[in-house]
Structures are given as C-alpha cells and as structure tokens.
Symmetry: C2
Amino acid sequence: MSEIKERIAKVRELMAEAGIEVYYVPMSDCHNSEYVAAHFKCISFITGFTGSAGHVIITNDDAWLFADGRYYIQAANQLEGSGVTLMKWGQPDVPDPGDFVAETAAGKVLGFDGSVVNADFAKKISRKAKNVVHDRDLIGEIWTDRPEQSFSEIWEVPLEACGEKSEEKLARIRKELEQAISDSPNAVKHGSYGYFLNSLDDIAWIFNIRANDIPCNPVAYAFAIISGGIAHLYTNGKGYGRDWYKNEEMHFDNVLMDTSRISYDTYCYFADQGSTIIDIRNPSTLMKAVKNDTEKACLKEALKRDSAVLIRFMHWLKTNAGKIEMDEVSVDTYLTGLRKQDPKFLDRSFGTIAAYKENAAMMHYAATPDNCKKIKAEGMLLVDSGGQYSDGTTDITRTFVLGELTDEEKKAFTLTAVSMLRLLNAKFIKGSRGENVDFAAREVMWKVGWDYKCGTGHGVGHILNVHEGPHNIKWEIKPAGASAPFQEGMVVTNEPGVYREGKYGIRTENEMIVVPYMETEDGTFLQFENLTFIPIDLDGIDVQYMTEEDRKFLNDYHQLVRETMEPYLEDELNEWLWNYTREI
Amino acid sequence: MSEIKERIAKVRELMAEAGIEVYYVPMSDCHNSEYVAAHFKCISFITGFTGSAGHVIITNDDAWLFADGRYYIQAANQLEGSGVTLMKWGQPDVPDPGDFVAETAAGKVLGFDGSVVNADFAKKISRKAKNVVHDRDLIGEIWTDRPEQSFSEIWEVPLEACGEKSEEKLARIRKELEQAISDSPNAVKHGSYGYFLNSLDDIAWIFNIRANDIPCNPVAYAFAIISGGIAHLYTNGKGYGRDWYKNEEMHFDNVLMDTSRISYDTYCYFADQGSTIIDIRNPSTLMKAVKNDTEKACLKEALKRDSAVLIRFMHWLKTNAGKIEMDEVSVDTYLTGLRKQDPKFLDRSFGTIAAYKENAAMMHYAATPDNCKKIKAEGMLLVDSGGQYSDGTTDITRTFVLGELTDEEKKAFTLTAVSMLRLLNAKFIKGSRGENVDFAAREVMWKVGWDYKCGTGHGVGHILNVHEGPHNIKWEIKPAGASAPFQEGMVVTNEPGVYREGKYGIRTENEMIVVPYMETEDGTFLQFENLTFIPIDLDGIDVQYMTEEDRKFLNDYHQLVRETMEPYLEDELNEWLWNYTREI
C-alpha cells in the first residue's frame, strides 16, 4: 500500500509544480468507452482499485474514489490502507461525482487530462473552478511501466453479417447531419460540415469494421470525420493519434459533434477557434440499435448456438457437481472451452461472472484462481457469460440449483423467473420506453418488498459491445434523452434478480428483440420475441409463488426451448432436456 | 358565422395599424389558470370555440385554432364557416402549437397580450420573430360587451380544514427560496429577495384563502410578493391589478419567479431593469400536493359523503331509467341537487360530464339543454362529476349499465374495471412516478390492442382545483420536471376507460392517496389507499375477462364499499347496496 501512497505523493508534487489544486482522474479512454484497456486504467495505477468504472479526485490533503454498487465491497478491500476515501456512488447520502468534483474545485485550479474526459462532463466539473488545466496527464507522467495502447488487426464485417454497406450507412447519417444543420439557429446554412466522431462502437458500425483492441469489445481504436463528400477514418494504420482532429487542410463552416462523447480537448480546439459547433447525439447510436433483417437472422442463429453451449454446460454441471472437482474459475474455463468449439467464436463478450453461493450476491463478482470457491452439490451457482461470434453477440445468465434450497431461496428463485417471464410476455404501445415496461418485471418483487439495485435490461450490440444504448429497461426516470422508445428490431436483455449479501444471488437473463404485436384503431402495439433458449432450472421453482398465468408462461417457454433446440443437440442431450423443460 | 369573420377582420385592421403580422391568442388569464372565467375567454369571442383549452393564431390571410383531442368534434362543428382552420393538437402530423407560432412568426412581427402568456411560452413563440409587441390585447380592444372580471367574497380556510397556518407555510417557502438563492450562480448572496407569484391555487394554499372567482375552482384572483420579512397579498380589496408587480417602493437584490407560470409582462419588467432573476418552480406546488394529517382526515370524510351521494344517485338511476323522463342534463341537475343537500357543499368541482351511449366516447362531452340525449333503459350512461366541499374536493366517474350490453361492451366495461383495480392495488418503490405505475392500469388494455388516449390520473387539490400537479399518472415520458415521484400524502385519480367513437364510452374513476406499504432491507415501498366508495356496476362485469386476482380485487373492493358506507346510508339503500356489492 505504501506504493499507492508514493504514487499519490508524486502526483501531488506535479500538481504543486503545475499550480493544480484539484486533479480529476476518470476511468475512460480517448473514446469515452465503457470498458477500457490496460493502457487507460489510470485509476488502477493510482489507487489499486481494479473495477471497471470509477472517478478519482486528488487534492493536496485528500483523495477520493467513487465506486458504484457493483464494487462497494471490492473497492473497500482494495483501498484499505491507501489513504484514499471510498465514496459509495449511488448511496443517497453520497453526492454525484461530477457535482463533487465541481464543488471540490470551486474557486480553485482544476486539472485533468482533457483527451479522456468528454466535453459535457468536463464542463460540468469545471463550472465553479477558478481555472482549468486540461493538457496534463499527471498519472501518465509518473506511470513508468504503463502498458502500451495495443492495436490489433482490423477486419471487415461481410455484408452477409451486417446487411448494410458502409456507404448506405453514411448516407443515412449525412441526412441526419444535414437536418441538424438545417434545424440549428447557429448553423451556417448550406455551408460545409465536418462531423467529428470518437466513439468506437459507432465507428465500428458505420464502417463495418471490427478488431480486438479492447478485450471482449470487438472494436478498433479509431476516430472519424464525416463531411458532405468524404469520410475520413483514422486507425492505427492511418493517422490515429491524440491530435487527429487538428487537420490544417480541412475547414468546415459547421463542426458537428456529440459533446456527451467527444473529448474535451477536441471540443475546446474548435470552440477556441470560434467554429460554429452543433451539438448532436451521434445518429448512429439509434441506427445501430435497430437491427436490420440480416443482423436479425444472424444474431438469432448465434443465440441458438450459444444456447446449445449453455444447455451442454448445464447438463455437465448438474450431472457432475459434487462428483468431480470444480470451482468458480474452472467452470468458466469449461464453459469458454465449449464456446471455443464454435468455429464462429471470436472472444467472450465480457468477463464471465461465475459466482457460487454468497459470492453471487455481488452482482459483478469476478473470481480469481487464487481466490475462488470450490463448487459442491449444494446451493446455487450463478453464471453470467456471453460470446462474441462472427455473426452475433450474446449475453446470458442462468442460476443453477446444485442442492436442496431453503424456502426463501426457492421463493427468490421462483420470483426471479416470474419476473423475467412477465416482462418477456409484456405487450406495449409504440412509444413506450423501458421505464414504462420495467413494472412488468419488478411488480412481483415490489409486492413482497424486494428490489434489485440495477436496471432490468440493456441493449446489446451486433458483433459489438455487449452494452449499447440508447434504449434500456429500468424504472428510474432520468432527464429526457437518457432512454429511447422501443423500436422494432432493438435487442434488449431481461435480467431481474434477487441478491442477499452473505447468502445468495440469483439472476435469470434472456435476450429479447422488439417485434410487432398488433395494429388496431388505437395504435401500434409491440412485444418482445425471445432469443435465448435455455431452461430455467426447475429444481429452483416452487409453484406456490406463481399464478396460473405465470405457470403457463414458464411451460410455454420450456416447450419453445425444447422444440427450438432439438436440432442443435444430440439425442442424449435432447432426452435430458425433456426433463428440464417438463410441464409443471 | 359572418360575426366571427367580422371580428377577425377587425383584429386584422388593428394588426395592420400596429405593424403586427402574426397575432397570438391564448386560452389563459393573468394567472396561467387551467380554466378561465368568461372575461378571459378571448378565444371563444374571436372564433366561436367554447372549449376550455386552445391556441389561436391570426395572420393577414389565415387563422388557426389548436384544439386537443377532447374537442376535435366540438371544435370542427363550432368553427364551421368561420374561416378558422382547425389544428388537431396531439395528432402526429400536427405541429406543437408553440413551435407553430414560432415558425409562423419567423422573421415577422409577433403580437400577443403579455399579461396572459407565461414567460417560458412567450419566449418559445418569440424565438424566431423579428420583433415582438406584447402590450396590446387586440381582442379586448374590439370586444365591446366583454364580461367584467368578477371578484367574489374571500373566505379563510380554518385550521381544522387546512392543518397548517399560513405563517408556517411561508416559513417553509422562504427556506426553499433562500436555498434557491444560495444555489444560484447569479444570485446576490445574502441579499434581499422578492418572490413574485401569480398562480391562484398556489396563493390560495399559501394564504389559506378561498373564493369563487372562477367557476368550480374555489380561488380568489390574487397576486403575491413574498420577501424575507413580509408577504404582500394583492386581491380585489387590496392592490389587485395588471401592474401589481410595479412597486417603486420595493427593491430586491434577487427577483424569484416561476417563469413557467408568471406572465411575460412581469418577467420583462424585471428583465428590462436588469434585475437578477432566479427562475424556480413554485415551491408550494409540491408542498400542497402532499396532504397533511388534517387535510387527509377532512378529504377522506368529504369523499365518503360524496360517495354516499353517488350511491344514492346510482340507486335512483338504476331504479328509474326507462320508467321516468330523464336526459343528460336532468340527471346532472338531480345529482347536483343531491350534492347540494350536504351543508358543506360549495360548488361543483368541474362541469359534470353526463354522457349517454355514443356521447360518452367524447371524453369531455358537455350536454346542453337544447342538445342532449334522452335516457332510456338501454346502453350505458357515463357520469363524471365532483364537488367542492368546505372540507375537500372530489372527482369521480362511474359508468352505469341501463340495459343489455353487447359482448364487446361487457368486455370493455370489465377491462376498465380490471384496469382501475390493478392500479389501485399496485405496490411500488419510493421514487416511482406515474410513468412507472401506469403500466399496472394499461397492461390489460394493451394486451388486447386497446388504449385510452389520455392520462390515467391527475393530482387533486384540497378544497382547490380538481387538477393539480406536480404528479400524475400517464405513460408518455416528458422532459424531467414534468412529473414528480410519488410521496406519501399525494392524492391522485385512477381513471382508465374505453372510448369508441359513435358507439360508447366507459370510464371508472376513483381517487386514491399515496400511503406507506412496507420498509425492507431493499427500500421503502408505497401503495395507494382507496378514497372513493361507490360500487362498480356489476351489470357490466363479465368474469371471463378477469383473472382470479382481478375477481379478488373486485370482491375486496365491494366489501370495503359496503362496510365503509353502511353508516352513511339509510337501511333501504344499504339493502340495495348489498346486491350491487355482492361477491362474484
């Protein structure tokens, strides 16, 4: 721990030299990515905290780490003795990190690396500061053995897997850019424009390119400028660098950017020049969320093959638990091994969560070889995992029952299944959002005074990031724009759960796609089509917690699993499946 | 109709003289009231349209009226031959009225009466105009027989009915004003302040005053200025007038106002002086929505007495329909007569909607003696009515079955009851809003491809306006601030329905109050307590459209009605009630 203290002391020395009184460190890269590669894990270097999200604030006397509910326990352990104070982000008495930085820097000199902070957030934290220094990466300056930013080979998604040529996507985007210019009171009408884009999943989708630059996220480090006539793509092979946006040969009457994604440095460069900046949300974010027919066909197939992997895994686990040696790490190895047998498998879509018994109460638990539970013929094992295939991305959770459950565990397991199935069967009018239908999943929980402290679902990319917007399913209503109405072709997960610290954790997660339900004189109605075909472990189900309709939902679902998966499984497995999809 | 044309022609002459190219007329008064008295019905005078809401835009060549879904049919009839184009506000292809005014006035001179348009809306419609003239009430200038603004006697609500002294309310408001000053980056810290208030229900609540200046809305025309030391109340007896805010003797370092309510004239007066204006939402809006213990006890009692009135009415109607002469107007007279027998009755809380058969498909139908349906022993009669009592405000709808129904009508009647009962029984986590729980009501409708084109519920004032915010129940998610999370003590209606043009309309409406449900390790959970005790007409119920739980909800509700109302009814009525609250 003295190492961490020394590093922070060095940062404070640099702060003093630069006249910086408050220094802010994000968990981010130059692309505003949700998950960052080792090169960008400045927070891990400076605090020892290895979670995937966080904010660090350093002053001359104090240092704070904001970690969210997934990481309260882990962060508390990792910060012990570091002198860094843990802020439990999301707790009612803990301020919003952006507001906390702004208040801490009120009237002072605030510093941060403006190439890894998006413009909106930078403006938020700077709003009360006396002065802002945003050209110093103080962590990078002291991080001597910092891993290099790594660039992998870029491959092109064939039309058979993406369904739309890049030129067609660009044409659709340009139409929206031109509309934004026409709508903007400040724009130079009919002038030239340059649209500056740094977000990797948007770029991957627009240009139909993929790579392996960030583990589990099949993206290439890239920047792009889209103008009326030309689209410039900057990758490792061609012009990639922190000053990508500084091209003296290009001049645009209108500069378009999504200030919630673009780096503050990029924004300031044009703002300082007095360019006409038009702030838009990246049009591709919504476009890529709405899957086309090719994408739909591909991802449905990928999800069926992935379901077969999980059924195979479930069979192995339920047959062998308590008979052979296994632990949280080895079951992940076994499962990933099964996925790797698929010739289209590229990578996992995120780090597997294999959490046994009370470990599953930590929603984003990550077992390590040195510190993982042995699995026996008792309790429950939660496995949340997914694959990146060359025809689709998967994300699926099942909780497996390995022994006798207590009554409370059975109730929790059953209500989780009921919650998932009710949402899967929800019907809703066009225009509805996740905040409207979340009740379908949560009602049965709220009725008994239970609530899971996370969203019910998130969008899933196509051969892309396992989390994507703009839609999601949650109950909290955030300012407009934070969610989007459901549209036919959006993929979304459905993953309610029950988490009891020190006892157990249960989650059941399917992927679904939005499809038409009916058209009537009262409007257009939508529903979800199920994409995941894996049994819900009947050993955890207690029918006393289900209505007639809930039982019908479960039986119908299991019949669908059995019938859909039959061609994907050998006879022995199909026979085993019969019992685990039996009518109850 | 030539009269309307003449009036518009006169307005156009005045426009030409004043150099105004686009003139805007709201349905509003100097207080941003939802319902306005005759004096302020400029839209009726200039177009002939008598609905309660609308926007009129007049140019040299055109004139438009925006009317919402409640009034499409009525407005089309009333505008016929007037030369005024009906804009069906809320239809997907019809622009937002504010945007329409802004676009129509782009690059032109826009005129309106700035004393009856709130500041936010005025800024919205003015944003593209070349110039704005906001000191001319052109309708008033040609309206020779305009009704006077009428002022009634003001009375004070006793502490036994309001539960909190005005001084205490003012202290709570000042605390919020001072917080707003402390939070504002522009404020003169620790400076003096004046908070300018024009909304009548806020003023009525703060000062515990009531009157009868607007039919059905027991408010007094008033303005108020609240400063750190003094609260100034301007009524007809004391300083009421359009220039109430121009007091040369008062000076404030900080001027606070709710720009979504305050008139544009008031706003401009201070903006032009260069005052520091702090825009806040009126703090009293949320405060008055959360009823205190006294208010709760009073309103519960008022709602029980009002329920007794409705049971009496239901008995009379069901016994006499087809036997004695009755029509849509006479049943209202009869019902209001019953309410008037209550010594605490003050007024109706809104114009009764008594709509027979297909008339009920118009959600806000208003029968007139010259044009109303005779009621026979067939079909359904929808009655939506309410009373202002000296101890509470009521709003209640029942649809009564007077003859054999078709299968579709029975289905619609039953699903409406199911919808209302499911929402009444919903449990939800603290922080939930109407947008979250609306699904509880609408799910059963959406499942069969039905949807009612209105919100499911609205707040209800205490001895005040029958519509009050900030909370409500609807599914559309508007920008943040448009709704508010439920809090213990908020009263809200629950009024789903089915409306079939040319055929029938069904609505079942109860009032509810938010109460605690349970506290668990997962949080605080809330539920609704029922406030309205009137049977749901069992002659319309078909159990094939109900789940077991729905039947339980209905039977439990009817048992509660029977037991609660027993002391309020004479033996004969209690006997009759037994049959209409029987278990099914």
